[in-house]
Symmetry: D4
């Protein structure tokens, strides 16, 4: 794309034919990676048949052509439990496809602080931590207090009742007492990975 | 009162004359403690002049006559920072007035987990923990994971923006991943203390 | 679990394979009860085949292995009508599985006060009352005025329109004029039972 | 007014001069009562000086000229506590000014059912019950279950936190399990009294 | 029922077996009409087979046994268009079953004032007008300005977007500039009919 | 301004010094009218002293320099009552300052349809109708049904309770059953006048 | 219709029989175009068989009989991407059916300003621009700053999470910093087209 | 602080005495910068008298002791207009105090795209862009499309009506079509500056 970001198509609600058309155009007119997010398996198979050379990650629901070379920039994607895994996987797969090294750390909810603390070193070694958390979103605050690197929080729509489909986690992450953490849209593993990509570009540039 | 709870008057919006009248009636027709919450200093002075024998706690904004004897039941009131102190004080003063032993533990926000963990033993020794927390309310989840006793969470209206005057903390505490924590109204130190009083009665009763 | 609470898995959205794996791990590494909530009948059958020794309560949608011995602590679960029964059953079954004696009292909505008053003695004999109520949630206030023991209110998502899928009941219970009642998440029979478990531990401990 | 309702001016935000002008016009062009609601004492004095023959009720904040003859129709205005009294008084004073007999019954919150039940006979003798209730609004449900006459519920903005300035009570009253109760706007004692006036006209008409 | 209202069962979410059981009990222990609302055709057929003597109105989705004798009290049910018809029918059928005479007036939205004004005489002849209106709910204000009898407004969940499934209409009806109109829950034709029943009892009683 | 709209400064929250500076710059670099909205009297006096040649309309709270010549395009600004007058005045004064002919029609709320119908001819003669309405906003629907010209609706924050400071009127106007009416922000008389200005430009252009 | 607008039926939720009946009546009693919006293909086929002479646009989901002659008035319908296309098509097809010339400009989201600026001339040549935009709705502000003609913004319900099904876009468009843009209901391509029709009538009329 | 972030005290609601105490403690136990945000001038003067060596920025409302050395990392803080300036200043002053180079670019709202495009080079030269934007928050999307570096968006509470005190801008920024932009709390210039600080640390570290 014009300003230097990878090309990512939002697959939800598009027919295989529509996806094929846009992917072909992007592959022809750009040099870098081309991704399609939120693609179900049926659509993926049709599209890959028409536009070979891509790969499909069914857990992340992601199609990728021409993945980027690793840049040396690395993130940890941290989450509390199994419910948030689809979002964890979208974040991890998009990040990997745009050249970022990814480690995932799960089962570290704030109701079990000792498991979280046991991962401190891995969290501190990261260039950026992506925190994926539903329900009350408290994990973002706790991680923000443990590391000094950028923290990108992704609220998720898991849970029920007072969780309000992710709105509660989104608001709670913004109201967080941990200074300097930032937030992306509900369930947007994609958004967090793209935020990390922007970060990786600054890191590569370095500082005088 | 009829069913065994102490008599507590809601002072907000009442004139000194109205408070005097209701307190006199309660002192005459009941035997236990009589409390008035949310009383400013001016009103307190007028009321105490008219109904002697009471005491006023200006930080808790509480008037008390005939405080209860200590029952041996004890709570820890835990909070993250200075902003939530008025609510901490209301909870502590009401609890003390109805016979509960109170310890307060502050400066234990989730963005500083090590300070919180340093208080683990005190938290675990409590019969009940009252967690007072504004902003994202994450402290309730963290404490709920550290102790097995009852946890009563009080969301507070501190902070700004996405905190929505306490609504975010209230919803987040309900959506919490920590099992079995319960919640009272925003800023209601009073409500948490009364919940603790109800608990203290069961504890005294014991189990066969 | 580490801090003394029973192990409870949230079954919603998990495949039978995922449930089997987590249950096996918990049975191996812990001594007490292992529960899985929100399990449909099909999943339950597959899981029980793979991990024998458990039982399934289809009305409560609950799987249980190694239920706890009765502790002598007892709760009444009170509700207005048939619409709230699934939540009543989840509360009752989880409570029973963790060692609490359970009585259920239904058809006691506030629009029929005489039926509610007829149950006063049973309510007062309880160590704790769990009130399950949708729509306007008024039952919690009424019960809170009748008993001095802990009251844990569970708002439900039954009804339509202005009930806002349980949000109205949740807010109303918090705004309740009955002092010291506490609230858990919408439809969370599980949360109320775990709150009761925490209470039962304090009661067993007694007070000096 | 054209369709048979009394003329009522909304005083809030109007200058004394504006009130004087509209009242003079209404007195000249109509025959029945003329009322101004939400008038503070200062404005009331100025207006009465300019338009003699009226009376001011400072608790109800109401100005009245040419009150109606009693019609024989009577309402009970019921409320839980002192906080809702200003709304109770507006309802009562407007109703009286349009010819309705009024009894007020206070201190009957649902957290004290026995006091409410003690008033059953008075409630059942009414042609209509106006229930004024803030916080969780449960009194409307309870009264709706005790009487078969029309029940008009007025949510109030008293309380704090989860009460959401009366929105919670308004929604809760709509979600009420008591059949056939109706609701007016938050704090609108005026609206309830006018609803009662409409009822009184049908009652006078009788049924063939 | 105890206080003089007809017995009405909420059918939604109940199995045919549950409906049969409660209807049988009500028919045995009461003398008046027994109704079940929100019943689909399949359930209705099963129930009528098990409890003969009832009738099913498929448009109103209502089952009725022992309808009441006409009382001479009559309502007009007014609505703007076809989208609100199911709620109109529930209101009309419930009202008829409890002894109220019913006329329906449709196609009278405020965007076509002349059609509404053409119905003025019919509206003014009614003992009560039930206004069923979705979207912006303006019809309630307009009718409230045309008649002096009680107006019961039913907001409906029709429309899309800013209508918020009926919440907008509900709030708008409360904020209405027409004095003394009252409101029931979203889509609750039942609630409006029961409010009319309460009114009919007062009218029958008359005024001294 | 670049694209052909008049220059309008939002005065709220600006110091007299800030207003003076921006007005001077605009007068120097543009040819047409320069307006400042939401200016209190004190600020206006200071600014006019520093930048002579302007006029201040205290009811509209508007400062104007170099008002436009009349264009022949004319609007009616219609409103229900006195409460909405400040917004009516802002709309009217801004429209006049940008060259539009303005008539105001007040006291035409939907609760008094006959007064509204009496103004039909004036409404139909307008090139555009601006409807200013708070509370339930129903006037927009009614006017939209009477005229075929553009209708720009301005919700206002007047009223209390369920009016939600104008949100209810805004949503209700969007959900309106009258086809093709458009809406601007709450209390934005300015926005409606600017919408009318855009319309006047198309009208002047004419159609081939 | 009486006041000069075309007749448009809202097809959603209507049976083919209901549509046939209302279309027949409208064709008989009016002279101009008759439209039915939100019609699925199955219904359309049945209706066209019963009422010949119409056409069905499956992408716009629109049925049209007797389309209007072109009036010379023309609009541009602008949108960011593929997700908003169904709303774009409804706006375009309704506008064309009522005699308006339509150009559509897509792929002009604010995240790609250069594509938007490349369309400036086409946008400026329009008599009115209809902006269809979901998510954050920013396109309306950007277009409002580029053109001086009327801008009608249609928020759409596309996207997920914080988009709140179009509520965020609707509110954002109202809060827009671009002066004089107006807004219609979420997803209402129909509403925008009708607003354009009202505009076209004024334009035809011209100004003296 | 423990994890490497500067110490920042939230001054709002603290007495001068409380601020003095916490600042003294922080200066004694830490080596880096100590900041106090949201301090009014009166408090600042008292505090500086008691704890010399600090400076007060009255527009940013910030107190600073021991500002950090410049790190070579630089941000652009971009905003649309004067209303958002206090937040711009807080962001800029906090960033400068923690060692970040700051340029501010104002008057670049999306309703004036050409002014924004004229700043493209400055925006692209930044290591990070902080976008401060109220009302509809569209500036964040536009900037996100112009640059490939990290974009931190700060919604502000400026404006009125549909802006909902910043909630609309916050939601709109999350729903933005620009990939990888992140968001902090409403009005939190502080939060954005701290996010930039976290970024600056990664940049300094570089990538292998
Ligand atoms: N999962 C996703 N969530 C939000 N936006 C996305 C997602 N995947 C791709 N996008 C964005 O969607 C836009 C492409 O949309 P489209 O033109 O409909 O394919 C680009 O701006 C992408 O950055
Ligand atoms: N701070 C408080 N918050 C909420 N309710 C309170 C508070 N203090 C007292 N109450 C309750 O207010 C009621 C007494 O109200 P009143 O009759 O107005 O004095 C009792 O039910 C108390 O339990
Ligand atoms: N307290 C009140 N709350 C709401 N509406 C009122 C109130 N008092 C009078 N009104 C109504 O306000 C209208 C008169 O408003 P105005 O023309 O501003 O005096 C009439 O429709 C009255 O029915
Ligand atoms: N303007 C601000 N907005 C939000 N949080 C802040 C602000 N200034 C300081 N803080 C945070 O507030 C906490 C200190 O709060 P306190 O202990 O009350 O001074 C630290 O976590 C800071 O990161
Ligand atoms: Mg989580
Ligand atoms: Mg906190
Ligand atoms: Mg219930
Ligand atoms: Mg109350
Ligand atoms: Mg309607
Ligand atoms: Mg109005
Ligand atoms: Mg868009
Ligand atoms: Mg802005």
């Amino acid at each position: 794309a014009r300003q230097g970001l990878p090309e990512v198509v939002y697959g939800s609600g598009k027919t295989p034919g529509q996806v094929v058309e846009v992917v072909r155009t992007l592959l022809r007119h750009n040099a870098g990676p081309v991704l399609v997010t939120r693609v179900d398996a049926g659509t993926a198979i049709s599209v890959l048949r028409a536009v070979p050379g891509g790969t499909y990650d069914s857990e992340a629901r992601l199609l990728v052509w021409r993945p980027a070379e690793p840049t040396g920039f690395s993130v940890v994607v941290a989450a509390a439990g199994t419910a948030d895994l689809p979002v964890v996987r979208e974040a991890a797969a998009v990040a990997a496809a745009v050249g970022i090294g990814v480690t995932t750390v799960t089962d570290v909810g704030v109701a079990g602080l000792h498991r979280l603390l046991a991962e401190q070193d891995r969290l501190r070694a990261a260039d950026t931590v992506i925190v994926v958390a539903g329900m009350e979103g408290a994990l973002a605050s706790a991680v923000g207090g443990l590391v000094a690197c950028p923290v990108v929080a992704v609220p998720t729509s898991t849970g029920y009742g007072a969780g309000l489909d992710g709105i509660t986690a989104l608001l709670a992450m913004h109201a967080s007492c941990a200074a300097g953490i930032t937030v992306v849209n509900i369930d947007s593993g994609f958004g967090a990975a793209m935020a990390a990509f922007r970060l990786s570009r600054v890191a590569r540039r370095g500082t005088p």
